[in-house]
Symmetry: C2
């Protein structure tokens, strides 16, 4: 009975996620779901990426997920990016219903690319499809090079990996190339990009891939 | 109905956790549940702490929780510490039943302090009491200074906070004092320690507190 209830919750989520996907498609909005550990650099990536996309004439919006606070939404808003904050009040992931509930608070007629910053959690968010076109996993250098092996869903259930904070490689004694090699042990052909949002390095390549990429992502 | 099922799961967990607690108490074993984000330094803390405790004549054992792999258990075993690996196969937290199932694989008659390294996750593990005497939250400097505000349970539902990787303060532009100040905004009197496992600084204070501390922790 326990399993059946979980299945029902997931089915209800998938149904709402497909509604979201159809809605986004009808408006020509590309949606990116960003997943990573607490402090892996999701917000910094969004702000830097939005600036690069703006240079190409593309307008971004953000759904900012946090358990509590609006710290990241304020940062994003200060950068001139339309943003709506979702506080889960304890929940460990965003779900499709939360995304749907946000849509009326965003100027969707002006937005080309919508970033959804999930709760900082390298486990639970991978189980919930939100209706996104593209799912990105951020793995930061200070977390160590073994995260793909310890959290295999972070590689298997994503479309693209961004290795962040590469400016900390030497001081942390962690090589981005080792993170990449471990990710390829889990999924050989996963697209991988290395960035330092602080230095601005690697951003153009990651953003270029994001623009081009259209996944065939569906509820699993 | 959904809520009722969740309540039942938690009640079943709490019942097993109280069994664990009674069992540990009868054997005079002190149990420490370590919770933190992926890569926050839980394993490094355990290895350094066990060495210091050994100098005081105290023997440590470890229950090592990971979704997949035995990377950390191998590190711990290489340091000469008895360890048993739990792989949750996707589960985002350890529960009391998993802890109970491990006990026959550890030399409990020799162990004074048992560390349980939870899944790397700053959200879900706080909801599951395992029968521990003491719960420690690790917050690492590279994660940023705002984690106590974004993940309030990591402060409210813990007995002691360890701010780790303080050797990275300058290079990350993050001050341990800011992490501490934000934690105190959530819980004024939470015991706080700053360590660098790499440099060995701060370990004696944290371990001293760990030895002295007896929480009144119970299922919530």
């Amino acid at each position: 009975m326990k399993i059946r209830v979980v299945e029902n919750i997931l089915k209800a989520n998938d149904s709402l996620a497909l509604d979201n996907r159809a809605y986004f498609k009808s408006r020509g909005i590309k949606v990116v779901n960003l997943i990573g550990s607490p402090g892996s650099g999701k917000t910094s990536f969004i702000i830097k990426a939005a600036a690069l996309l703006s240079e190409r004439g593309l307008v971004c919006g953000v759904i900012e997920g946090d358990i509590a606070s609006s710290i990241d939404a304020e940062k994003i808003s200060s950068a001139g990016i339309p943003v709506v904050q979702v506080n889960t009040g304890g929940g460990c992931h965003l779900d499709a219903g939360m995304v749907k509930a946000c849509l009326s608070s965003l100027p969707l007629d002006k937005i080309n690319i919508l970033f959804i910053e999930n709760i900082g959690n390298l486990v639970c968010p991978f189980g919930y499809y939100l209706g996104e076109d593209l799912r990105i996993t951020l793995l930061s250098v200070p977390e160590g090079d073994d995260k793909p092996l310890k959290y295999p869903a972070s590689v298997l259930d994503t479309d693209m990996i961004i290795i962040s904070k590469t400016d900390l490689e030497k001081v942390c004694g962690v090589r981005a190339s080792s993170i990449a090699a471990n990710a390829r042990r889990i999924k050989k052909d996963v697209p991988l990009f290395r960035i330092s949002a602080r230095l601005g390095t690697g951003m153009a390549g990651a953003v270029g891939h994001l623009i081009k990429f259209n996944s065939t992502r569906r509820p699993t």
